[in-house]
């Protein structure tokens, strides 16, 4: 139940001119205006620019420590399964797997695993994978569509653990992996796909 005349809201929201308010309502609107102006003009805070720029000089925390922090920090995790029929033929499949290869790569560490990305983007000119493993910068992991059937594939070695990621189509369109099965909402209100990389068994 509103305790003030709705015309005050209309005037403050620009839906009616202030002049349309009777004097008493105009006084109340001006009181709120004055309060906001006081808050806006309050004394200036000290700049954080120097502090931020100094922090940027330092390298980002190692992925492992960020992962540990991510795992131990309480947070809301959104788990959502999407209807397969909408995307089964048209979208990608993320297959994360441990490859018990008989001929393990010599440069594959114990704390690394193999992630295979498969996504269907017919007509796309390029598809890249960005995520917490490459600081969300496109270009370092690109998928290929060798037979031009719209199915883009790529295999990469990633550190074992949880990684958030998205596909970047044609360098500008960010798309969550429709069949990732696991999603997390990040600080920016975006829903990222989540994959878990398991370490290679020795």
């Amino acid at each position: 139940m509103s305790t003030i005349d709705p015309r005050i809201h209309q005037a403050l929201d620009g839906e009616i001119p202030r002049e349309a308010l009777p004097p008493e309502l105009r006084r109340q609107a001006e009181l709120l205006d004055a309060a906001a102006a006081l808050l806006a003009a309050a004394s200036k805070a000290e700049s954080v620019e120097e502090r931020v720029m100094a922090a940027l000089q330092r390298p980002a925390p190692p992925r492992r420590s960020r992962l540990v922090r991510w795992l131990v920090t309480p947070r809301a995790v959104v788990l959502r399964m999407r209807p397969v029929w909408t995307l089964a033929l048209a979208a990608g499949l993320l297959l994360l797997m441990l490859v018990p290869t008989r001929e393990p790569r010599t440069n594959l560490g114990e704390e690394e695993g193999i992630a295979q990305f498969v996504a269907r983007f017919p007509g796309a000119r390029s598809v890249a994978v960005v995520g917490s493993f490459n600081d969300w910068r496109a270009g370092s992991i690109t998928l290929e569509d060798r037979d031009h059937d719209g199915v883009w594939r790529g295999v990469v070695v990633l550190p074992a653990g949880a990684h958030e990621y998205m596909f970047v189509v044609d360098g500008e369109r960010w798309v969550a992996d429709p069949l990732a099965g696991r999603y997390v909402e990040d600080d920016f209100g975006r829903e990222n796909s989540l994959l878990i990389v398991r370490p290679v068994l020795q």
Partner: protein
């Protein structure tokens, strides 16, 4: 480039992503006054606000490539700082917030008008801090930062009808508090 000759957000973001780290300073100088003002109103403390804004800006830099629409960088930055503020509020042992740090200290050499202005500000700040964080956020973004409801929705992730309701409730509560103090 805008009419003032300053590079646009889109141009600056492209420079930063191209490796020009110092260009990020342009964005800091452009947006930190509003971000600090907003965070101080949310947290009731200048020190906590500086921490939240600094953390938010570092995160923004590290995730700049994931900013899908650099033309709307402002609301993207507010969203990051808003989340930092929520984290700070969640870590506090109680919901009580000391306003001491945020209150201007009247200097004896100030004239009467300045002292009165400081008292009015203290009154408004006290009234503002009686609001819930959600209503306070909506009021500050709308009336102090001058955002449209669409921009507030982008910065908070809330729906416009919800935000309008919060702003309306905040106005009512503030007006009531201010009238009582008069």
């Amino acid at each position: 480039m805008d009419v003032s000759g300053a590079p646009s957000d889109v141009e600056v973001v492209a420079r930063v992503l191209g490796g020009d780290r110092e260009a990020f300073g342009l964005l800091i100088r452009r947006y930190e006054p509003g971000l600090l003002r907003y965070a101080a109103r949310m947290l009731g403390s200048r020190d906590a606000a500086a921490d939240a804004v600094a953390e938010g800006l570092v995160r923004a830099y590290r995730h700049l490539a994931s900013c899908r629409d650099p033309a709307r960088l402002r609301t993207w930055l507010y969203r990051i700082v808003a989340n930092r503020c929520k984290s700070h509020l969640a870590r506090r042992p109680t919901a009580d917030v000391s306003l001491d740090e945020a209150l201007p200290i009247a200097d004896p050499r100030d004239n009467e008008a300045a002292v009165e202005r400081a008292e009015q500000l203290a009154l408004v700040e006290r009234a503002l801090m009686t609001l819930s964080p959600e209503k306070r956020e909506a009021f500050v973004l709308k009336h102090v930062e001058g955002m449209s409801y669409e921009e507030i929705a982008a910065a908070t992730g809330e729906r416009i009808p919800t935000l309008k309701m919060r702003v309306h409730r905040a106005r009512e509560a503030l007006l009531q508090a201010l009238e009582e103090y008069r």
